[in-house]
Amino acid sequence: MNHQPSAALSTTLDQIPCGTTIRVLSIQSEGVVRRRMFDLGITPGTLIRVEARSPLGDPTAYLVRDTIIALRREQARQISVTLSLEGEPA
């Protein structure tokens, strides 16, 4: 499966609206935070659905590999994702 569409089709996770499922392209964070993302199951190729956003928009709940995970906006901003993905459930 090709997880590397052209750069024009990618954005960051914090930009994705609720209810949308996208695929992770890459993770920009480094060190401990990067390791944490991997341990939470957020790796290149992972499908993520945006579940719910708190009233002020931060943090946001994401469905990652059958578990809901909350990320801060600055953490989500470090995750590059495909723009949208039709018809594939997370």
């Binding site: 060190g31 390791r35 944490r36 341990d39 939470l40 199951g41 059958d66 578990t67």
Partner: protein, 279 residues
């Protein structure tokens, strides 16, 4: 309140085979509660949060450690004991973690014990409904120790979700025994006990799966670093793993190397566990 003896009077075995049958052997499980004096083997219980570690802990020891669904429930390690086939086992319930490589206190407690406590067996409890997520920790633990038994718990819930877990295939792929369980109902407990005993005694030779690094530069760096780590800390049980963590920039391992506490840990001077409160 610490000494539970739930063992029924064992009936005389009608066949020779019964004496070695795991079901029969399970009937001879003696739960020792918090009495963990003079054990033959040390067994660690690890796993992701909410996989039923404490349920298995309680089933084996007869204790009633709090079982509840909130983060950090098993704040530090809890200990209990049991006797199986005339061997005394000390069981240590570690905090639930997704990983051994991040930097929460829970993860450090679990990691330090598996690395430096040198348990004879480490049971990794995995949630059958979220295997993909749980296998991350299994692979991380297989990188540290060979003596592992994987308990795939909540098999009944997985079945309800239409998930069938191929435990034989997993056993083959992971190179360690994999036991399907419904710990809440005691299902799989006899098999788990059998495998714990076999791995502890060495009767079961595991061949744990190790992930390849796929990076020649990293291998070269490791080849240079491992002898230095071994020289600085003779007797360290897993110099390769420590070297890998140093190359990854793990702050707590770096600190432990810098201030020499890594040597204390490897000599078994890990901080004393907090006593388990029995309710």
């Amino acid at each position: 309140m610490s000494n539970h003896t739930l063992e029924p009077t064992a009936p005389a075995a009608p066949h020779a085979a019964c004496a070695t049958c795991p079901v029969q052997a399970h009937a001879r499980l003696r739960k020792l509660g918090v009495d963990v004096s003079g054990w033959d083997y040390t067994v660690a219980l690890a796993g992701n949060p909410n996989t039923g570690k404490s349920t298995i802990f309680n089933a084996l020891t007869g204790l009633r450690q709090h079982t509840g669904n909130w983060p950090g429930k098993t704040v530090t390690r809890a200990e209990g004991g049991f006797v199986y086939q005339n061997k005394r086992y000390k069981l240590i319930d570690l905090p639930g973690t997704y990983s051994l490589l991040s930097t929460s206190t829970d993860e450090e407690v679990a990691r330090d014990f598996i690395l430096f406590g040198c348990p004879n067996v480490t049971i990794v409890v995995a949630d059958a409904t979220r295997l993909e997520r749980n296998l991350n920790l299994v692979l991380q633990i297989l990188a540290i120790t060979d003596r592992v038994v994987v308990a795939v718990n909540l098999i009944d819930e997985a079945r309800r979700h239409g998930i069938t877990v191929d435990t034989r295939g997993l056993t083959r792929d992971l190179g360690v025994p994999v036991v399907p369980m419904v710990a809440r109902r005691g299902e799989g407990l006899p098999e788990l006990l059998g495998f714990i005993a076999e791995v502890a005694s060495g009767a079961y030779q595991t061949r744990p799966r190790h992930l390849a690094l796929r990076n020649p530069n990293l291998e070269r760096a490791l080849d240079q670093l491992i002898p230095q780590v071994t020289a600085a800390f003779p007797g360290l049980p897993n110099a390769r793993w420590v070297a890998l963590r140093l190359l990854d920039g793990d702050p707590s391992i770096t600190q432990a190397v810098r201030d020499g506490t890594l040597g204390d840990l490897s000599r078994g001077l890990a901080p004393a566990p907090i006593a388990l409160e029995v309710v």
